[in-house]
């Protein structure tokens, strides 16, 4: 957390994670080259390698883009999210290999600088089928490079969270560029329906998953807006919140995580200070609200991280009346201690 970036270190889970990632990448590249040459003995090595790296990177990007919505739909996928950064960096390395080899192969040793050649060697902007596809890959690679280099938490604090998050939302721009790079590039010359079918299925999968997961979010946000300032809003029944867990509710457009623990109820602003993870999908561990994404912790009553950490989220005043949970519509400044609402065991069964 905020203080010691190396605190997490290389524990067993991280090693398993990276081991599986590396193994899968090597399996893919080896499988692609092996089966590719077995079925295409006339192939050239450079083309086969460029294709293995390009498709490998795009496949990995599909995995990366699936993690967010999958975790929303089924929390058992959360372990994938924890080290998502490693997936991103690995994907960038594959894409960089593909882009570098392509730039050498198609643009180096000529009469122009390779990067100039990359941008000017095809000028058919007037025709979709002939439209230059390599610059699309190049711009995508620049986005991926920015994301990979700033992926460490160190940069999160330097850039400030909103800038960092905006930068990392560009992954969707990169994805769109890469899809067009493939559609306007290799799919103009490769005719197998397996290839266009695979890309189509991938795009549908990413879209579909985001829509399904997004729907759930929208349901939370659909609660009526326009509440009076300082009024208490009835958000749910006490038994809607499992013990040591939270329910995410929307109050006047803002998401609030309402936790129940040890006969008490506390409400915090839902977005985690680290990377906007949904605190309300986390749980109470050792008396602290624990973010499901990377495990940042906050005191439920004050929204402040325990010493020595300094993260703070806004808190909300809460009341429990006849088994209903009431949350005040306006937040308290981040880190403000609010007395938790208490209730008797009987109220749960009201």
């Amino acid at each position: 957390m905020g203080h010691a970036y190396q605190a997490v270190g290389w524990n067993r889970q991280k090693k398993i994670y990276d081991g599986v990632l590396l193994g899968a990448i090597l399996l893919y590249l080896g499988g692609f080259l092996g089966l590719g040459f077995a079925t295409h003995p006339d192939a050239t090595f450079e083309t086969m390698l460029i294709r293995a790296l390009g498709t490998g990177a795009l496949l990995l990007l599909h995995v990366i883009l699936s993690i967010g919505p999958l975790c929303r739909l089924d929390r058992r996928f959360l372990p994938l999210l924890y080290n998502r950064r490693h997936l991103g960096v690995a994907m960038f390395i594959l894409a960089l290999g593909h882009g570098t080899l392509s730039t050498i192969q198609f643009h180096a040793f000529g009469d122009l600088h390779p990067l100039v050649s990359l941008l000017v060697s095809n000028t058919r902007f007037d025709n979709l089928a002939q439209f230059p596809f390599q610059p699309l890959g190049f711009f995508a690679l620049i986005i991926l490079a920015l994301m990979a280099t700033t992926s460490h938490d160190f940069w999160l604090s330097i850039l400030s969270a909103p800038v960092w998050k905006a930068l990392h939302m560009l992954v969707y721009v990169a994805y769109a560029l890469i899809v067009m790079h493939v559609v306007l590039g290799v799919l103009q010359t490769e005719t197998s329906l397996w290839l266009s079918g695979a890309l189509g299925a991938g795009v549908l999968w990413v879209f579909g998953l985001h829509i399904v997961a997004g729907r759930r979010e929208v349901r939370v946000d659909l609660t009526p807006a326009g509440v009076e300032a300082n009024s208490y809003v009835d958000v749910c029944a006490l038994q809607d919140i499992p013990e040591k867990r939270a329910k995410v509710v929307s109050i006047d457009g803002e998401r609030v995580a309402v936790f129940r623990y040890d006969g008490r109820v506390s409400a915090l602003s839902n977005p985690c200070q680290h990377q906007n993870g949904p605190l309300g999908e986390g749980c109470i561990r050792d008396g602290l609200v624990t973010c499901p994404w990377h495990g940042y912790q906050y005191r439920p009553d004050s929204g402040a991280s325990p010493e020595p950490f300094t993260e703070k989220v806004p808190t909300f005043k809460v009341k429990v009346e006849e088994g209903r949970v009431l949350v005040q519509s306006n937040p308290q400044p981040a880190g403000t201690r609010v007395e938790p609402a208490t209730f008797n065991a009987e109220e749960i069964d009201v």
């Binding site: 899968a24 499988g31 990359l118």
Partner: protein
């Protein structure tokens, strides 16, 4: 916490909860399986690669006579009489004009790497790959090794007017240095090669898919590479009408590049 859906994973703890661990193990197996399936589908679904050949890393030695106009070539005597005409190139996206300067019309020994496809052969020269030989005694000789015929190609028979539809490719990549060496994915590379002086070729396929290759020159036999690049006519269908002339093994299509037509 026996229901894995209720178990809570914290990445910085050494061990994942038990039920979740089982879910993850199954997930990892699925992932590895999916990886193999994806690699198989994507690698096996590639179109066939051409039979073109670049003997990368293999050096051959050839003897013959350099003829440099309109394109640098080596005339290699054939066993049954006559000559084979091999196109010459150098490393990179570059023509061999500089490399053969001063050798026109001379009998030489060259060291290089063979590139061949269908009826065309090319030799990629290494650095300082050309060595002048003493003229064979039977030939009308000049003391510097120059033999009769000079540096220009000798036309075989009369030319004919033709109008041909095909794709402009760069001879080097298409003959085998790159696969695929034509169409859109190769367009930028072909543009650089032709811009750098690699001989441009019109590839024309007949109804059986068999390819015939026509080296492209202007009506007067000059280079047309610059105009082809400036007009962006590489790697897509074009129609060229002009005079087809045979030079031994090779066909040349002479036409003013301003008259090449793009067929969209």
């Amino acid at each position: 916490m026996s229901d894995p859906k209720q178990e809570f994973y914290v990445g910085y703890l050494p061990q994942a909860p038990h039920g979740l661990g089982r879910f993850l193990k199954a997930g990892i197996l699925m992932l590895l399986l999916g990886t193999v399936v994806a690699a198989a589908i994507l690698s096996m679904a590639q179109s066939p690669y051409s039979k073109a050949k670049f003997e990368f890393g293999v050096s051959s030695i050839l003897e013959g006579r350099i003829e440099e106009l309109p394109f640098p070539t080596l005339m290699v005597p054939r066993e049954g009489g006559g000559d084979s005409r091999y196109l010459l190139t150098v490393f990179g996206k570059k023509g061999a004009d500089e490399a053969v300067a001063g050798f026109a019309g001379k009998r030489v020994r060259v060291r290089g790497t063979l590139i061949y496809h269908d009826q065309l052969t090319m030799v990629e020269l290494g650095p300082a790959a050309i060595e002048v030989l003493a003229p064979a005694t039977a030939e009308p000789d000049a003391s510097d090794g120059t033999v009769a015929g000079g540096g220009a190609w000798t036309q075989t028979g009369a030319g004919v007017e033709r109008s041909l539809i095909g794709e402009i490719v760069d001879s080097k990549c298409y003959l085998g240095v790159m696969k695929p060496g034509n169409l859109k994915t190769h367009r930028a590379c072909a543009t650089r090669c032709i811009s750098g002086g690699v001989p441009p070729v019109l590839m024309v396929r007949d109804e059986h898919g068999l390819a015939t290759y026509f080296l492209l020159t202007s009506s007067s036999g000059g280079s047309v590479g610059r105009q082809i690049v400036d007009r962006g006519l590489v790697a897509e269908p074009v129609r060229i009408s002009g005079e087809v002339v045979r030079f031994g093994d090779l066909l040349v299509l002479k036409a003013d590049p301003e008259t090449y037509q793009r067929l969209d």
